[in-house]
Assembly symmetry: C2
Homo-oligomer: 335 residues x 2
DNA sequence: GTGAAAGCGCTAACAC
DNA sequence: GTGTTAGCGCTTTCAC
């Protein structure tokens, strides 16, 4: 209504309107004690009337805290990372933190995203997947960092995700079905998540005394899965494949279909992520599902504890992953 | 190295170390003129030595600007929204803005996300898809808002996205192939994007004088596409389907496969989004691809102009969408 | 119960 | 070219 709408109302304006001191407004807004009910009402009414909103910059300046968590995420619309992002935001808001995101572009690497977060002011940083272009990632800032992999740095807290466990589960499922060995289409080696899944696969193979075929390396994309799939389809010994994500599994499925190798009759395929489409592929894909909500909840709890410098519960072991069996896996054909 | 590392270094600390006034430090850091080269060097060296970083809270307090853009996004890992998010972040950083995200959960709706952004302090808000639980969305805040749909509010800038155009292109492609009509699996009616695509479909049908079959409404998920697909598969008149996104198209494909209706021989299917997996489905999916980079670039340019209150270029028409023809579409079978 | 005064780290006048 | 001063809006002592 007023035409002098250039500067948003301050707590001083609210105080003036309510006929109290500015400090009293502050007390009311922060729910501090020692304010009479009547004054409280008046202040609240004045604030509402003015459309008052706390100035977070002033607050942050004084407190030295931003109440903001920054996430350095992989700049992609991959299902895993974006699901994790959603879960992290929900949890952050839940525990009273705003949420900033910086994507690590292909070239730039994670460090540039971290720099950008630090520059804008955050109380803590989550490194969603600590890959970096070339050199070893290391975060020297004085803010707590949550990583899902051990990385060097003064205030890094780590929580386990289920990569290794997931790789193991997928492989054991296939081995349990009677396959002599399991082939692997891995994610890019630069990604810790990819290395974890491959490790789980390798460990399960070793534990079962199965031979370890060479892994194909993809880049998470269906196209790369397709390329790997063509190689595997041409090899008659291949009867079971574990792809490190569902997108690559889709490519594998396609290559197998084109080569006339029936799934699951001739070749079984397991993916990972349980993307919404997984249940509707031809055939519906057996896959591994991670609990991103649980990961986010636990990770941010750890981080919040570190921000407050409270004791901080010890890191848990790996967070759960579940095998979802559908129709892309079956026992091998009897020769 | 010092053990008194509780308060991060301020520009005063830098000034003391460099032996200049605090204001000079400010000048150097902001690249203002009238600083001798020698002093500039000294200040920069001191800043580096101390690991100095500008306190954005103090800066924002003084400037009354946060240099931060907030995005209220749909809390989901849907390919479209998350691709847009990535593009928006890249552009925001490009033009010097930090990036905050708040997801609108299923229940809460967009307004709660907007509130959360306003509370943390942003210079502008992007409403990625202005759906709201029940009531009409309306943003009364005094910050500029970028929306891809006209919504009421004092400082809303709008840019077109290609929903209508995309729906039209998909439908025309199918009609051009010789199909008598085109069935539609729409997104949730609450979503403007879904309504746009349906409108494009409807308009193209009308323009060609083709009958308009009832649309099936899905929720973007493969599961809902599958449900719609079962209905369509049972109707022998259906020879061409346009699904409002690729995920639902996947469900349609699955339903068709289970019903023994060959794609594209008996039924043609077009999706929308061009998810990475689209080219590797069985059959590879004809779809519509949006240029999210262009949308983000143009939208944020508009928004930045409004933040600066500069004239602001007029909104363009719809941004481009491209038909990507693959193997899921073909002329109808000759009866 | 409430108010006055100081100061967080920065930038914008305005001197020198 | 460089320094001084004031003040952004809030919270924190400390009076009253």
């Amino acid at each position: 209504m007023s035409d002098a709408r250039r500067r948003p109302p301050s707590s001083t304006d609210v105080a003036a309107l309510a006929g109290v001191s500015q400090k009293t407004v502050s007390r009311v807004l922060n729910g501090e004690p020692y304010v009479s009910e009547e004054v409280r009402e008046r202040v609240l009414a004045a604030a509402r009337e003015l459309g008052y909103r706390r100035n977070t910059a002033a607050r942050a300046l004084h407190l030295g805290r931003f109440h903001r968590i920054g996430v350095a995420s992989i700049g992609s619309s991959l299902y895993g990372p974006s699901s994790l992002l959603v879960a992290l935001e929900r949890q952050a808001r839940e525990i009273g933190y705003a949420f900033a995101v910086a994507y690590a572009g292909e070239g730039a690497g994670v460090m540039s995203a971290v720099e950008s977060l630090l520059a804008q002011g955050v109380d803590a940083i989550v490194v969603s997947d600590p890959i970096d272009g070339s050199q070893e990632l290391r975060i020297d800032a004085d803010v707590p960092v949550l990583s899902f992999r051990p990385i060097p740095g003064p205030r890094v807290v780590v929580t386990g995700v289920s990569g290794v466990e997931a790789g193991r589960q997928a492989t054991e499922h296939l081995l349990g079905l009677g396959h002599a060995s399991v082939w692997h289409v891995a994610g890019p080696h630069r990604w810790p998540a990819a290395r974890d899944r491959a490790r789980g696969w390798r460990e399960a193979l070793a534990a079962a005394g199965a031979p370890e075929p060479p892994a194909q390396e993809g880049d998470w994309s269906p196209a790369s899965g397709y390329a790997a799939g063509r190689v595997l389809a041409a090899d008659p010994r291949v009867t079971a494949v574990f792809a490190a994500n569902d997108d690559m599994a889709i490519g594998v499925l396609r290559a197998l279909a084109e080569a006339g190798r029936a799934v699951p009759e001739e070749v079984s395929v397991v993916g990972m992520d349980d993307i919404p489409a997984a249940a509707y592929l031809s055939p519906p894909l057996t896959t591994i599902r991670q609990d991103f909500e649980a990961i986010a909840r636990h990770g941010l709890a750890l981080l919040a504890a570190e921000i407050e410098r409270s004791p901080g519960e010890p890191a848990l072991g790996d967070l759960p992953a579940h095998l979802v069996v559908r129709r892309s896996t079956a026992p091998p054909a009897k020769p």
